[in-house]
């Protein structure tokens, strides 16, 4: 089996592993983060492929879908769930910013490595900093939604 398929399978394994560590009283927060993130990745993922900015040469459901089902349906939403579940809510603004920066840059760094060394993703008209910014924005919007969703009743 090609290295790409091993990577895809291991992404599923690792993501499922992360899910198992989510504390029981925060499962619903994780669910909302996953579902909401899927709404973002589904749309943006399709649009960037439609406009030829990125391509995913090796992918699941290749015949009907040119986007990365693994990343958009599972990997990134799960990361977003982890992001929200362990969010340092009562810490200083510096730590919160660092938390955003840490998640965004680790994900971007992983993507750049994957782009460079495998056929899972190819940048056509794309740069690493666009990934960085879009990942940051996606995490931010999802966080805002989760805060609204779980605010006490009558809070809007």
């Amino acid at each position: 089996m090609k290295i790409e398929w091993w990577l895809l399978v291991s992404v599923y394994v690792v993501a499922t592993g992360i899910l198992c560590f989510i504390p029981k009283n925060k499962i619903r927060l994780g669910v909302v983060a996953i579902l909401f993130q899927q709404m973002i990745t589904f749309l943006i993922g399709l649009v960037v492929v439609e406009f030829g900015l990125l391509e995913y040469p090796v992918r699941f459901f290749a015949s009907i879908n040119r986007t990365s089902f693994t990343f958009e349906y599972y990997a990134f939403p799960v990361v977003c769930a982890a992001f929200n579940v362990w969010y340092p809510n009562h810490r200083s603004i510096l730590i919160q910013s660092g938390y955003y920066a840490g998640f965004s840059s680790v994900l971007t760094f992983a993507e750049v490595l994957i782009e460079k060394y495998t056929d899972l993703i190819t940048y056509l008209h794309w740069e690493w900093y666009i990934s960085l910014i879009s990942i940051f924005l996606a995490l931010l919007i999802a966080r805002l939604f989760c805060v609204w969703f779980f605010a006490k009743e009558g809070g809007f």
């Binding site: 669910v31 649009v47 439609e50 879908n65 349906y73 009562h90 969703f149 006490k152 009743e153």
Partner: protein, 165 residues
């Protein structure tokens, strides 16, 4: 403009109006959750359904990126489900709840079948009309079970779960 594009526009329009009109503001969380849950499930189920040629979407919004119908999967059916979910009777008799479920599933299937027959938005390949009825029933049922699980204990999720109390 082709009739198909016009119908897609109407779906967005009616979807937005329907959500605002039929889901009271106090139920928005429930509505959103139902919407997102259905979206996640139809996305997952439509991938194999389209891959194995059960149906096709000849006219679609982003034809290069995916063979899936974006408006229907992403927006219109999730809105239908969220209206269904918010208005279902929780304490009704089993008979009335089953009737409510069947009426919604049949109406959604009928709409799907009409779209299939008279437009190029959907094209059934191996799927039949009763197959679509069962498929939509399955999607509604699974989504309802997942949403019911989510809301089964109010105290568990309202306030505090984010840590912003």
């Amino acid at each position: 403009m082709r009739m198909e594009h016009f119908i897609l526009l109407l779906m967005w329009l009616f979807g937005f109006i329907g959500f605002i009109l039929f889901i009271p503001k106090k139920d928005w969380r429930k509505g959103f959750l139902a919407f997102m849950m259905f979206h996640a499930i139809i996305w997952l189920c439509d991938m194999p359904a389209f891959k194995y040629d059960l149906l096709r979407a000849p006219v679609r919004e982003l034809p290069k990126a995916a063979d899936l119908p974006l408006t229907i999967d992403y927006f219109f059916y999730p809105v239908l489900f969220s209206i269904f979910y918010v208005h279902r009777r929780v304490n009704g008799s089993p008979g009335s709840r089953i009737t409510y479920f069947l009426v919604w599933v049949s109406a959604a299937s009928l709409l799907d079948i009409v779209i299939e027959r008279y437009t190029d938005l959907l094209e059934y390949e191996f799927l039949t009309w009763y197959g679509m009825w069962m498929y939509i029933g399955f999607l509604f049922y699974i989504s309802q079970v997942c949403c019911n699980w989510f809301f089964k204990d109010k105290a568990k999720f309202l306030g505090g779960a984010v840590g912003n109390e």
